[in-house]
Every structure is written in structure tokens, then in C-alpha cells.
Symmetry: D3
Subunit: 334 residues, 6 copies
């Protein structure tokens, strides 16, 4: 079986239990996450072979991160080490009208130390069928950008699928490069676009609204600008409050527009990583189903992820299919 | 005060805290439960004298199970010991559209070691006024079936009330006996039937629907086939998802049909043992109230159980009555 | 910056984690609280200078209480010590239709030992701009009543604002004084009345209903009887069940009646101290905004408090303002 | 089987986990204990039938205390309830040279509410063979003293064995009675004295040293003053520090002096209740063995108790006998 | 790098935190272990490639076991699944003179379901350089015995090293085969004997004492009977009590006798799996050092294992070497 | 009362509970520490007024750090904020022969952002009587060095006592300055030297041994080189292993040499911060006692600190004096 490649920072997530604030706690739960490894682990849980590429700290924290990834059967053999510390993020989980808060400690992390010569793309891509990247990686520093670009260029050459979730976060992008230029550069090497009107507006400098019509038009413009992009998938979240969301999806694949109905997530357990579960669902789905069913699979996977603590989507294909087939009753499996 | 007798397996329940999966945990909460002991403990919490009969392991796990039961004032003096291990079940608690999952380790447990000669029914029933059994016990093995039948025969002779919750679970029943035959045999020794159209269809081989009309007709046919059955009580659960249910009940007592309105359980804490709380509520209620109020008491007890972690219904009679009388506001008691 | 003074008992709160009952637990979470210190800490979290006056036990429990208050930057320099134990309350947190239960151990606590000569009001009020009291303090004993009265008399002399939340709890008031007389005495020294029709009826011996018309009329009568009272603020809670409330507020300031819309608190984390958050919001708001916006600030603060575990409202002014400005989506702050 | 009766206050013990101080914790472990119930539970764990007499709070804390005692099979049918709160003690566990600290909240507890008319000694002692009391009970208040004395007088009349651990704690004894007079009164109704030179000096007003010679002489004087006393047992603790003790015992039974060798307790888990384990060991041992072996059994029980968290000695007779027979290697039992 | 193969049952270990008894707990820590997988994981932590062969349950418990093993980089690709439950063991950890207690639930576990046809020895041993087995496996049932024997026969054919820790546990061996016969059969296929006088006496039917002279003589007799055995390694444990041990080792390699000095383990954290750490140390050491240094490495590894909670030895080669080189001061590594 | 000033980085400490490794944990305990704030808090616990100067992150982690310091009554009014993250250190606590391991994430922390203009030394030192610094601060970066030097120059001018613990850690000092030069610069502004032969050798470039004679000679040379240094205090740790240390101290005050006997710390709870407790003990002691008693007080404080979890020494003056006066029995305080 050929591998799916994910590339990006592995972060340690630290948060008090439940909805406690740091000031109330003296214990923190920890997980490892990061948008690309979240995607990788979710795909591995769907039964695919996955290899993650990153640079982690050369200490017991980095050892633990690697061990955490291995637990899910994701290959860590291409992860390199640095003397810098692993990136950390602190999370206070909100509830009802109280938002969650995140504070990052990643500016000088081990991942920012990565350099193209550390990653043997030739060997890695020889056994690969898909590579996934997000807009976080090139935002973190030149090393990540250069390393990623080297991989995408080779992937293009080899005809490997490239999906991107070009999430744009203004708070990052501090190392000198211009976000729009860099994203343009990398999107032009990609084939599947996982993002919505916001991301398209950012890259094209347009001003489309959230309406379906505008989404279709925006997607068309995107594909005109980037003819390599074959399909656009968008996940729509309606937040009643921090504890109760609705999720649906829509797509434009160059030929037809489709959208799903809402999943009603009345009691959210953890919303971190739900976008990553959507991306993972698409990557799995597009290899197994037609575009529309892939989108439905992805949105069901995204909905299910809200029920797991931590960044990881533990759902298996069977579990997603059950939801997709309409069983949301949550009846006990004995 | 005469005793109420419950008879059945005591299981150790092991589950990660909150909604964690086993793969996320390194700690498991444990409780002891099992459908019949759950009924017994709930009735004891209503102030009745209860004796539970079982066979538990002859090690510190069995000691702990006995200690757990004693905590609620349920008599353990008729519990016997075996060198086999106590049955265990593992539980992952779902949320929203994610179902809970249960995995059992009970096939060769201490309870499967029980034999009729280990239980002195004559002495036990001398001080008893009621005996309750469920379809789980005869499904687990010949020893449990034979031991139970010996008790029911003597109970019939002494005119003791016999209630049954004949839950049919296809996954069990592996020791050679036929479920329908065995259940028919035991139901013919019982007086109160706690179950619905599903269970009746199973036993009679009929095909009634969930409608009230079919429920009444099914109950009539059941009573025709088993003239000893005096009353039929059915609990109806509407699952919006794993975190939000509605509960109501209906009955046919040979003379009249009655049903309750729904309890809206918007934030479920633990749904295991809620059917047992219904049975316990009925057993208590039928001794204290008319049939209709007994049913209302049982459904209020069942609704309240959804708010307690673990298998046990901690509600007292006063607490159930408050709900029954319409106070569902949950205002603080100071 | 002049200080806001709060005066009252500091209690240790002990409760099992989550919704567990004491019988299920072997660990208890503890916090320190009490209606007046809750108000004080919340105001300190809004950035004001606050001094709390109390009498706590002269042991490591009292040390811990003082340390807990210092954590929030509230001055503890006027807290005195007694050889009696700190008051304690035990809490079982309910869910859905199950009410929370509280059991107090405060009848002979260190606070009941307070005497007027222990508090140097002259020095304390020299740097004060506001003093807040509640009906709990004079209910607990003569020492608290006398000490409070001494402070209020001096506050009146100095023209310091005096707010009161005259909560009437029948279960207290065991030391011989009559609640109505004592409250009348103290309300006549106060300027801001935080309470509703219930409290007015209790003090005036009237029988007004909950309607807005009656609230206005009751407030007018209150101001007629106590011309020192300038404004009346009332918080209205609608309990769907123990896990789901709606909160709104209304006011009569002698000139106009205003009311807010409801905040929908669909997943309550902890409702203890939400009334105190309302009072704190008002005390902060009345110094910063007009009466109507102060009321809106207070009700947003009250709503937010339902999302924090423990008695304390951790919300900052910015966080309350965000809610007040309509952002209840709980979107993650990165 | 006749019962052994213990009589005394049931306290809730609250302490941070491990060696944490209150200032470091936000969770407290809780147990129920008290010197006499500790003795009772330990004897029940040796297989005897035990009934404990006390007065506990009429709330969920009192319910939990009763449930805790039932867990060990100790009868709670003679425990009465009061509207006052259950006594509480707070414990910080020391280590090495840091002493443990205890702070009590028991002065106005439910137990101080007990009155002779609440205890039906006639019925209770009809099925009793032994009654045990300690010096804590009469120190707590007149109600406990009077109730105890009524029981001891009837026990003497019925020829029931009466053991006493007359622990003298200066900090108690605040209700007006003189410790020496009261203890003299009650010791004159007892037959087994569990205490050493300190306690004898306190009661007789003498000044004996810790030497074996003085212990023998003191015991002789005690028996001369109280001819009803048949035997004196003394436990000697050598504290290297808070984490490492040595334990041995000595006795004078009117005929011979005997002493044991030291048990070396190199890693103490919990030293609360170890004196109670000694008393329980004696009460069991004196019914099963000769005086010397009873003393050895008691000191082995006392040593073992240092290895259990909480007040309770979980050791069974077999486990104590193994230690007594010299196996202190702690090899794993499979 | 060629692989080291371990073969045996994977058990779930469940124990209360610290030194609590089951009766005191409501939480259990869980780990996965079993003598052979413990050896495998420890060797993987030394940097070798390891593959473990077993049969685990086909449920989320089995999934978690596999995930746990993958965490350490041990290959799980040859682990098969069964519908039977995973074996479980319950552990109460003793202290000082209190022994730990273990209770097993493994008689009908998934591992007992293994059959020779489930294991593709040919493929597995093609990449293997060493195989390790213990006396537990053939004691559990015919399936394990047959499967193991098939592997050892092939290993012999291929000239692969075979080490054995022939631990004899009387409590097992219930399926009809005779322990001595079976062990004789399997030892005759092995090359390295990790065991002492006890095990030799068991297999040869001799009666040697623990003296060094007898150990040498016993080893010679063993090698005479089993000429395939090249070396005998024996670990000697001196138990001061359950919290304090001393460890040393001795060997006879057919040519010379050597022994180490004692490691003084003054504060044991967890002694389960320390024998497995010794075996793992030997397997690693014999490939890297001479026999004597291998023995020293193994005894240092064994000593270090006493400082890790759970069954697993986390020590790396560098960490063992530091101890081996005499640094037992435990100075902080920064 | 004049204040004692401490200046240095505040770090978040994260470690698994007990002796777990990161790979075994999913929860981390957190504390705030750092050598200088540890000294400050310990002195505050002795009853002195203390102000700590630092630069912490401008997020909820920084808020929590400030709140943590306020808990102990240490003034935080001179702590400034930076957009960089707070420094973090990860700790795995060893046992017996297993060393603890620490990994730092502080190279680009908020403290490294401090600049002289952020600290108003003039105002701060107006109310100060003592300032304490350590060799960690100037090692972390130029900003800390410059800011510290500005303070020490002013302190010298004002005749304020300056104590230093010039701990030299080779792993730090990466920003370009030479350790020896910088330390020389700062020591020449200090009056009390808390360090031993190692530190003197580092600063003087000498090579003295640990003998008392060499210590005296080294101290003399130090004072010759730095005539401002009045006294030298040295703490000597003997590590039996990671769980068992012995502590003593020695001094040369220009006139006499004195040394204490060993404290035997048989069961270490936490050794982090014990050197800081020694420094705090000296700073308190030198203001209250003669030099020799100050040294004894400091070594008793240091010994006691080994019994508290976390970085903080919770000991009060009374508690240290009890140890100093020879009571190391750890008898329970009731």
C-alpha cells in the first residue's frame, strides 16, 4: 500500500481538565497535535499507511511526541531532531458563551529549525500517493516553507496528489515573507483545495460573500487562477455557542455544486482538530468514493471528531459510515 | 419487613473518565453492576430490605464487590464464592452521535459457576415478598437457569410476587439452550412483565409494531399465553443522540391502558442502568401506589437515573416524588 | 485608586468532581467562597482595588483561605483570626432534573466569632469608595450584625456608596434577632438595592407578584420606605432544568424601568456564585456606565459566571464587554 | 456469634494527596475514621461481628459515613442522627523531619449531641461480648460521657469484657469536667487497660519513667487502684522520623512481664490509626490466643496498619499471622 | 538490522494508585504487560528491532494493547486477534511488610486461543536473530505450547539464538500437560538459560542449595542434560521488605563463574517486570559485551527497572551504562 | 518593614505525577519556580516583606504565574509583561539510582526580553533592605545582566545588603558574554557569598578541593579578591541515591570556620529548590541570629524543603526552629 504523507509541526497541547482556567488548575492534560499530524493520524485510523515528516526536540519531550505518533501506527522514521524545544500550546476550554483561549510557544521551536536538506523527499515520495500541507507550515518560517516547496515540486513531477488546507492566520507570518505570495506559490503546486470563501478571498484578493452563489463563483475564479486545482471543498460551522455547533459542507468540483445537510452537535466535547478531521475525511473519501460521498464522509468525520477529547479523530471508517448512513442516535454498541 | 430478592451476575464495570476512549486513558473508573443488582440497590435506596444472590470470585476483587453491595445496605449473606474470576465489562462512553461501546469478559466468570445446590431457596424465600429476575441470567449458562428456576418454582408455591425484565440479547445464549423455550419456561412462573413489544414478539413469535394499539394487543396475547402475568409495563426511549434522550412509559394491566408524558433528559450523565431503575421503581411503586402512579414513579426514577454516574440509581423516594410532582427545575436544595 | 470593601464569611466549599454524589467519591474538590468574598474577587478581576474583611480560622485551613484570596489580588490585611474552625459547605452538583444539594457546617465557625472591636472601620473606610453587604451576614449572628452596622453607620457619615443584596434565607437567623427588623435597620443605611420582589415583600411585608408592573410598584414602595435607596436591580432566572437556565435583568432607578433580553445558558458548568457575579457587575458597572448599561454588564457577567467551575467569576471587563456586545458564539481566541 | 461493641465519634478525615500541603492542593482525599470506629472496623476485618454506636449528621455527609461503615460489614443499626454537622478533621501528612499536622472541627458536631436516652444499651448488650472505649469520648462532652457510663455500668452488671484505651489529650476536655476524675470513674468499670506509663501517670498522678521496671511497677499500682483491671498492654513507638518508625509492645498481666522485638517500618504509608489497630489486635487476640501471643498479634497488626492509607486497618487474620510468623519480606502473593 | 522475537501473552494490568487496596479505590491505573512483551519492549528501548507475537482480543481493549506496544516501536504486525477477551491481572501493591497481591483472569483469554497455524514462523524467523520464551507460555495451554515449539524447532534449524526464562509457577499448568516434560522438551531447543537453582531443581528433579558452589554444580548438571545450553545466568534478590531490595547476579558459562556486587534499592517504585528487565539486559548484553559485562549490564538494568511504574523498563543503554559505571547518586540531569 | 528584593526568571515547571516518565503520563503537575523567586517565596513564608522583579508573558499563563506569586504575599507590582511566552521546564523525577531529568524551554522566553528601563530601581530600592541574585540571571542574556547590574550599583550606593548564589551552569551562557567576567563584575557588588569551592574555583580560576582546609583557604582568597564579600556559606550534599541525601553546611565569615552536623533525609519528596531554601534561610537568619545560628537555620530550612513537593519551601520560622532544636521525630501536631 502506498503512503500518504503529512508534513508539519508537532505541538504539545497543555490544558486544564474540563473547563477549568489555568488559575484554577494544578494539573494539565497533555496531547500532541498540530494540524497536519492530526490529519495524518485520522487517516491512519481510517486504515491507510501514513508517514509524518517533522522536526522535534531532542529530549524526553520529543521522545514522547514520537512515541505518541507511533501509537497510531503512523511512521515516524522521517522525523528529525533538533536541540531546540518542541512547540507548545496552552488551551483553556470555554463553554456556552465563554470562548476557548489558546496561547502559543512555538516561535523558536524545533520545527522552525527544519531545513530542506534534512528531508529526503526522493526516498519518501517514491512510496507515496498523496501529500497534504496547510498554510500554517509556510507561516512559521523560511525553513518550513523551503522544505515544503521542495517536496511539492517533486510531488508535481511525480504526479502525486497534493491537497492543501491553506488556513490563513494573521498572527503568524512574522519571518519576512508575504503570506499571499507564499500561498500562491504553494497552491500552484496543489490539486485539492480544502477551504472556503475566506481563504479564496485571501489568496485572490477578492471579496466574495458566504452565499452558495459566491462560493461557486469564487471557486471558479480560483481554478482559473490555479488550473492545477481540481476541486474545492468547504466546511461551514454555525456556532450557537462554544458548546453547541452545527456542521455542514459544500463543494465545487469544476462541474457540479453539492452541499450536505447540517449535523447538530448539541454537546461538544472538543472542537480542536475538527477541521483536520474534515481534511482527513476528504483525503480518504476521494480515494474511495465519488466527490459528493467523499464530502459527506468528510463532514460526518468532522462531526464525529467533536465527540473526542484532544486533537485526534479516533473514528474508524465503519464508525463514520454509520453516521453517514443516518444513525445519530448514539445507541450503545454491545 | 420482608425482603425483596434479586438474583444475577455482579459485574465489574471499567471505563475511562468522561468520554475518553481506552486509547486515551491510563486510568479507569470502576463500579460494580449488573442488571439485577442494579435493581436491588435501587430498591434498597427506596428504603426496602433487599437480599442479592450471586456467585463472585474468591479474591480481593470479589471482596470488593461484596463490600460495594454492603455499602447500600443490601444483604450479601447469600452470595457464594468461586475460584473463577468476576465478570468484567469495559465501557467507552459516547457523546452526541458517537455511540457508547461495551466489551464483555464474562463467559467463564464466577457467576457461570453457580449451581442450584449453592442457594438455600427455602430459607431465603421464607422472609421474602418479591423476587425479580431478568433474561440475562438464563442466557449466561445452565447453572444460572437451573438455579433461577428452582427459586421461581418455590416462589410460585409460596405465592411470592415474581417480576421479570426478560431482556433478550442475541449475543448471549451460547451454552446450548434455546432462548425462546427457556424464557417461556420462566415467564410462566412470573406475575409482572417489564418489557415491550420487542420482548413480547420474541417470546410469542409475533410481529407487533410500536403503536399503542399493537402494544395493547400484544399484552393481551401475552396474558392469554401466560395467564399468570398480571400486568405489562413498557418504557419508551427516544434518542435524539447519545447525550439527549426522552423517556416515557405505558402499561396494560388487563383492564386499562395508560401512558405518561415524556421526561426530557437534555444532558445525560450516564444511561447505563436506567432500565434497571425503571424496574426498581415499578417494584417499589406497585407495593405503594396504584398501577398508574407506580408507572409514573418508575418513569421518574428512570429519568433521574440518567443524572448519576455509574450503574446505581441513588434516588430516594422523596427525590423521585419531587420529580413526579413536576419539579424538574433542579433548584439547589440548601 | 480608592478601595471597594466587602465584608462577610469565607467558607470552604467541598464537592465531589463532576456530578458525583458523596457516596461515589473519595476525592473532593475545594474552593473558598461565600457571597461577599465572591463579589469582592469578581470586582478585583474587573481591575478594581478590593479589601475583604472577615474572621478566619487560625490554622492551616485559614492560612489557605487567605492565600486563596491573595491570589486574586484582594487585600487580606484586615482579616482577623479565631481559634474556631473555618465554616465549610458540602455540595453535590445536580444535573438535568436532579437538584444540587448543599449542607452547611458554619454555625460555630470562626466568622461567628467576629466582634466590632476587631475591625478598624475608621482606617479601612478612609481609603474606601464603596461597601457591599448581603443578608447572609446579619443572619449568621450578633457579632456579624453589630460589626456590619458599625461599618455602615460610618460609611453613611462619610458618604460612601453602600450596596446590598439582602438575600433572605429562612434556614439561618437562629441567634434570636428578627430578620425583618435587622434587615430594615441595615437597608436604611444602604443606597443600592440588589434584589427583587421576593426580597421587597420580605422587608415590607407586601405581596407583589413577579410581573414588571408589580416590580415597579414594589420598588417605588421600597424607596418610599427607604428614601436612601436610589436604585433597584433584579436578576431573573428561568430554570429549564439544573443544566440549562436563562438569565435576564430589570431595574427601576426612580425614573425609568428597563429590562434586558435573555442569555441562554444551554450547558451550565457551575451556578454557585452567579448572583454574586451579578452584584459585582453592578458595582463595577455603576461606576463606569449609565444605569442601563450597568445592568446589562451585570447580567452578561452573571451569564458568563455559569461557565466557570467554583464560586469565582474569572471574567475580565473585556470578556464581559464582548458578550455584552453580542458575541456569544464562543469562537476560539488565538 | 456475639458482637463486639465500639462507641465513639465518627469523623470525616480530609487531606491532600500524598505529602501535599493544603496550600498546594485543590483536591482532598476523604475517609471516615475516629479512634473507636477504627478499632471496630479492624476487628470486623478479623472476622468478628461488630456494632458501632454513634451520632452522625442528618445529611448526605452522614449518609456517606454510614455507608462507609456498612462497607466493612459493621452494623450501623444503632447509629442515631442529629441536625448538627459531622465532625471533620483536616490532615497534612508530613515526611522525614516534617511532622504531620491535624486541625479539628468537632466542637459542635453531631456526636456532641448524643444523650443516654438515644442508646438502647439493654438491647445492644444482650447480644454483646465485649465493649471498647477510649479517653476521647468522655473528653468531647457530657453527653458522650453520660452515655458511655450508662453502657459500662450495664456491661459490668452483665460481666461483659470492657477494654479501654484511655488516651489523654489535653487539647480536648473543655466542657467543664476534670479529665482525671472522669477517667478514674470509667476505668473503674473496665477490665483491659491499653496504654502505657504516660496514661498511668496521668490517672494515678505518678511519675514513672519509660523503663520496663517502671512500667511493671506502674501497672501494679494501676491494678492496685483499679482491681477490676486484669491486664495492661503498652505499645512503644520509636520515631526515626515521620517516615520511619519502629514498633514493639510490652505487657503486664498481673503475673508476668513480656515484650516483643521491634518491627522496622522503613517506609510508612499512613500512621493514623496504628494505635487503634493495636487495640483491635488485642481485642481479637485475647479471645483467640494466650496473653503473650495476643500482644504479638496486636503489634504485628499495628505494624501492618502503617502500610494502608487512611484510618482503617485492612489486614485479615491470615495476613497478620504471616507477619507474626516472621515473613516480613513482602514477596508477591499470586 | 535483524529482529529479536518475543512470543507470549499480553495482559492488561489493573491496579489502584499507590499502595491503595481495591476496597479503597474507585480508579485503577492500567498498563499492558506480560513477561515476554516486557522483555521485548525493554530490548526495543535499548535500540534493537523487536517483533512480538501474540493473540489479543478483537475489541477496543485489544486495539489499545496493540497501540501500547506500537508506542515503543515494537512491531505488532504478527499479532493475531480472537473473539475471546484479553487476559487481565489485578494487582494490589504492598509496602514494607505487606506483600503485593495479584489475581489473574486469563484462563480463557484470547492468548489461550492461539494455534500454530496462526503464526507464520517461516517468514518471521527469516529476519530474526534471537527468540526469547518463558515458562509461562507453555503453562497456559496446549495452543501456546504447540505454537512455541513450532517456532523453536525452526529456530534451531536456522541456528537462531534461543533464550529461556523457564519460570515455573505451580498455579498454572492446568490443561493436562506435565510441566517437567514440557519444559524439558522446550529447554532442549534453547541455548541461554536465565534462571537459578530453583528452576534447575524443578527441571532436573535435583535438590541444590542457593550456595555458589551448588549453583555451579547445578549449572554443570543442566548443561550435561541439555548440551545445547551454553550459559546459565541467575539473578538473586534479597528482600528486606516489600519496599527495599538488594539485587545481584551470578553466572556459569561452562568455563567460569562470576558474580556481581549488590545494588541497594532503598525505595522501590515497582518491582513487577524486574526479572524481565534482567532477561532483556542479558539478551542485549550478550550481543554487545562479554558474558561478565552482559551480566553486569543485566543486573544494572534490573535494578533500574525498580524505579519505573508499570511493567516496562524505560531505561536506555546510556542510562544503564551510567549505573553500571558506578553513578548511583541520582544527581539531576539538566 | 523594609522589603527584600529578588530578581530573576519565573519558570513554569511541568512534571508527571510521582516518578512517572513523560511517556507514561497524560497529566502534568505544574508549579511556578525559578531560583530567585523560590528564595523570595521562602523568605515571605518566614514573615518578611518581599518584592519580586521579573518579566512574564502577557497571556493567561503569565496571569497565572503572577497569581501564584501573590498567593504567598510576595509583591508582584514590579513584574513587567512581554509578548514572548513564559519560560518552561519539564522535569522527570527519578528515584533510587535513576536521576531526575530536566529539559528547558527558556531561550526566547519573556524574561530574556527584560531591559534596564523596565525596572524602576530607584523607587524599588527606596523601601528595600536586601537584594538577592543568582548566577542564572546574567547567564540567560544581556538584558537580565544589564538590568541586574543597574540594580546592584544602586544598592551598593545605598548600602543595601547584596547576597549572591553565583551558581555556574555551563549549559547556559550562550549570548556572547564570558561567564567569569560577568560573575566577577557582579560579585564585586555583593556582600554575602552563598556557594562553595566549585563556585570559587570557577570565579578565581583556582583548583581547591572539597576539604574544610581548602574551603577556608578558598574563602580567604575570594575575600581578598572581592573585599566587599563579608561571609561565605557552603551547603554540602551527600547523595546516597536520588531518594536519600544528607545535608550539612559550613561557613567562613572572615573570622571563624564553623560547620553543622548532617541532616539525614531518608525519604526525599522533592529536591528541586532545596538550595534556594538554604539561601532564603541564610537571608532570614543573618538578620535575626549570629552567623553560626543563621547557617544552622539555613541548613534546617534546606533539609525541610526536601519534604515539600514543588519548588517552594513552605516552612515557617517556627517549623524550622523546631528542627533546628533537634526534633526530627516528625510526631503529629494536633
Amino acid at each position: 500500500m502506498k503512503q500518504i504523507i503529512t508534513f508539519g509541526e508537532v505541538l504539545m497541547r497543555l490544558s486544564p481538565e474540563g473547563n477549568k482556567k489555568f488559575m484554577q488548575a494544578n494539573l494539565l492534560e497533555f496531547y500532541f497535535g498540530g494540524t497536519e499530524i492530526n490529519v495524518g493520524i485520522s487517516i491512519a485510523n481510517f486504515g491507510e499507511k501514513v508517514k509524518h515528516i517533522s522536526c522535534v526536540s531532542n529530549d524526553f519531550v520529543g521522545d514522547t511526541a514520537i512515541s505518541y505518533i507511533q501509537k497510531f501506527g503512523v511512521s515516524t522514521s522521517a522525523i528529525v531532531r533538533s536541540d531546540r524545544p518542541l512547540g507548545v500550546y496552552f488551551l483553556e476550554v470555554g463553554a456556552v458563551m465563554r470562548p476557548s483561549s489558546i496561547s502559543y510557544n512555538r516561535a523558536h521551536s524545533s520545527f522552525a529549525d527544519i531545513r530542506p536538506e534534512m528531508v529526503d523527499w526522493e526516498t519518501i515520495l517514491r512510496k507515496a500517493k498523496w501529500i497534504h500541507w496547510t498554510g500554517i507550515t509556510p507561516a512559521l518560517g523560511k525553513g518550513g516553507y523551503d522544505t515544503l516547496k521542495a517536496g511539492l515540486l517533486l510531488a508535481k513531477e511525480k504526479g502525486i496528489q497534493v491537497s492543501t488546507d491553506p488556513t490563513y492566520r494573521k498572527g503568524l507570518w512574522k519571518y519576512g515573507e508575504n503570506a499571499k505570495d507564499v500561498l500562491t506559490d504553494l497552491i500552484s503546486l496543489s490539486t485539492i483545495f480544502i477551504g472556503g470563501v475566506n481563504e479564496i478571498n485571501e489568496v485572490l484578493g477578492t471579496n466574495y460573500s458566504y452565499s452558495n452563489d459566491d462560493f461557486i463563483e469564487a471557486s471558479k475564479q480560483l481554478m482559473k487562477r490555479f488550473p492545477n486545482i481540481e476541486k474545492v471543498f468547504d466546511k461551514i460551522r454555525t456556532s450557537i455557542n462554544a458548546s453547541w455547533h452545527k456542521i455542514r459542507a459544500r463543494m465545487w468540483n469544476g462541474k457540479e455544486f453539492r452541499e450536505t445537510t447540517d449535523f447538530d452537535i448539541t454537546h461538544i466535547i472538543d472542537r480542536i482538530g475538527t477541521g483536520d478531521a474534515f481534511a482527513a475525511g476528504l483525503i480518504y473519501g476521494l480515494q474511495s468514493f465519488d466527490d459528493c460521498k467523499a464530502m459527506e464522509f468528510a463532514s460526518a468525520a468532522c462531526a464525529l471528531k467533536h465527540t473526542y477529547e484532544g486533537d485526534v479523530n479516533y473514528a474508524t471508517v465503519d464508525e463514520v459510515m454509520a453516521i453517514l448512513n443516518g444513525d445519530v442516535s448514539g445507541r450503545v454498541n454491545r
